[in-house]
């Protein structure tokens, strides 16, 4: 009986060892859903202590006049690459992630800034000009890709924002967001989730600057 248990245990351990690297569930025929979903705010999860969620002090209207996708490669959004953790590792297997239309994806992430207290509208600023506590923004997606590292998925999303301020002044900034999560099955949905985390973090960087601009404060200089 003990021997039987040992056999069971050995088979299960080996099965895990064999199946884990084979669990490449990326579907090359199915593009990513390109559906943006906000992650829960701090304190929203049932196992977390209540934490006050971030909200801007005073409301601000953000007119998202345009969203452009200026990525060089608009058809793919990353890869799943198998490499052994050795000094002479080279890619043993590469699978590419097909994307879809990224413009609605980014727009939805920008509209989700309403959760922070912005009155975000996917429309051009009024022809009469911007009033106090109003901002215009033209947003370009520069980078969105995800990849696997050990037991994790990682994403990097970069957006460029051209702000238009009351009075006609303009200012531009670039924001980067990195998402990370455990990789259970390398599924398309998991890659989409980690891309959403990266985009959300990039937009969160934009939110900080947009609040400053709405308050009439200048932006800090960009990092060298």
């Amino acid at each position: 009986m003990t021997r039987l248990r040992l056999h069971h245990a050995a088979v299960l351990v080996l099965l895990a060892g064999v199946l884990t690297p084979l669990a490449h569930a990326v579907d090359e025929n199915e593009p990513l859903s390109m559906v943006f979903e906000s992650s829960p705010e701090p304190g929203q999860r049932p196992d977390e202590a209540p934490v006050p969620a971030f909200r801007i002090a005073q409301r601000c209207t953000l007119f998202v006049a345009r969203v452009d996708d200026i990525r060089r490669n608009k058809s793919h959004m990353g890869n799943l690459t198998r490499m052994l953790p050795t000094v002479h590792a080279t890619p043993r297997r590469v699978e590419s992630l097909r994307g879809g239309d990224a413009v609605p994806w980014v727009r939805d992430a920008l509209l989700a800034t309403r959760r922070y207290g912005f009155d975000t509208l996917a429309e051009a600023p009024p022809a009469a000009g911007l009033a106090r506590r109003q901002l215009g923004a033209e947003v370009s997606l520069r980078l969105a890709h995800a990849w696997s590292v050990d037991l994790n998925l990682v994403s990097h999303v970069a957006i460029k924002v051209d702000y238009r301020l009351p009075g006609g002044a303009t200012v531009s900034r670039q924001y980067h967001g990195m998402g990370t999560r455990a990789n259970w099955a390398s599924a398309n949905g998991e890659f989409m989730t980690v891309l959403n985390l990266g985009l959300e973090e990039a937009v969160r960087g934009m939110v900080n600057d947009a609040e400053r601009l709405c308050d009439g404060r200048p932006l800090p200089p960009e990092a060298p």
């Binding site: 060892g17 080279t90 990097h156 990195m178």
Partner: protein
């Protein structure tokens, strides 16, 4: 007795799984046979660069091995990385941001064009060469392999590029797979690692140096990586003889170490580069001085 009987299927599974694991550990390098080399036709080269930019992560690949390996090490690795990834977001933004203007695929295309114009030494007759932004879908890939029965051979390079943590070096890691005569298995399979030091100074200093003059230094090292990698594979396919042992400084996840192996005899290699094969026949082209 009962236990022994009922454990037979488990024993069988155990054997199958052990075989699968051993197969995974089989040597990766496969030299091209003399017969295949002799009748190697022109080659269609496809360089697959499936990444959109530099891929930085808080915990570089292989850290689990440094923690002693195994599932526990990997899980610690995983949680450490997730915690640190957020912290390094700003740093990655400051590093990758300025580099986004320069595209590896563009530079790789230029390098392949130069190879097409000047030829390779040793000669590898290239019928066509392209950089692909993604791995071709399976059906297309298989059809392309089948087409080697009456056409050019098919050489796929799976290439990944990276800046080592600390920005000390630029590295590419490439797998070459060569099909010919319609066979479903590659007649040649090898890995090549290219590295050039780019470091010296703080992160902003290195980034400024890389992007100065419209990214001259960065673009040059990107093009050089393709040229040198193609050269390594051409030498290996041609059966370049082993020379004396060679060593060089190599940056592994931000740490400089000395590595070496059996030198690859290359009559046209310049002195700055060190070419060798390690004990698993992985090919290296490394350079110990900043260009």
């Amino acid at each position: 007795m009962r236990a022994s009987t009922s454990s037979r299927p488990w024993r069988a599974m155990l054997l199958v799984l052990c075989s699968a694991l051993l197969a995974a550990c089989a040597p990766f390098h496969r030299s091209i046979g003399a017969a295949e080399r002799a009748k190697l036709p022109e080659v269609d080269v496809r360089v697959v660069v499936a990444q959109e930019s530099f891929m930085f992560s808080a915990q570089p690949p292989g850290a689990a091995a440094a923690l002693g390996g195994g599932m526990i090490g990997a899980l610690i690795d995983s949680s450490v990385q997730q915690a640190r990834q957020k912290e390094m977001s700003a740093e990655v933004g400051a590093t990758v941001g300025p580099l986004l203007d320069y595209d590896y695929r563009t530079e790789a295309g230029i390098a392949l064009g130069e190879i097409g114009a000047t030829g390779l030494y040793p000669p590898l007759r290239i019928a066509s060469a392209q950089v692909l932004p993604a791995m071709p879908p399976k059906a297309q890939h298989e059809a392309r392999i089948a087409a080697t029965r009456n056409g050019p051979a098919y050489l796929v390079l799976l290439l990944q590029y990276a800046l080592e943590p600390g920005l000390g070096a630029f590295t590419t890691r490439t797998t070459a797979l060569l099909w010919q005569d319609g066979g479903s298995e590659p007649v040649y399979r090898a890995g090549a690692i290219y590295q050039s030091p780019i470091g010296g100074g703080t992160r902003p200093t290195v980034v400024r140096r890389l992007v100065a003059n419209d990214g001259q230094a960065l673009r040059a090292v990107m093009r050089d990586s393709v040229a040198q990698t193609m050269r390594l594979f051409a030498l290996d396919i041609a059966g370049a003889r082993a020379g004396p042992v060679k060593t060089g400084r190599f940056n592994v996840n931000g740490t400089w170490v000395v590595i070496g192996g059996q030198g690859i005899e290359d009559t046209q290699a310049g002195p700055p580069r060190v070419l060798f094969r390690d004990e698993d026949k992985a090919l290296y082209s490394i350079r110990s001085t900043v260009p």
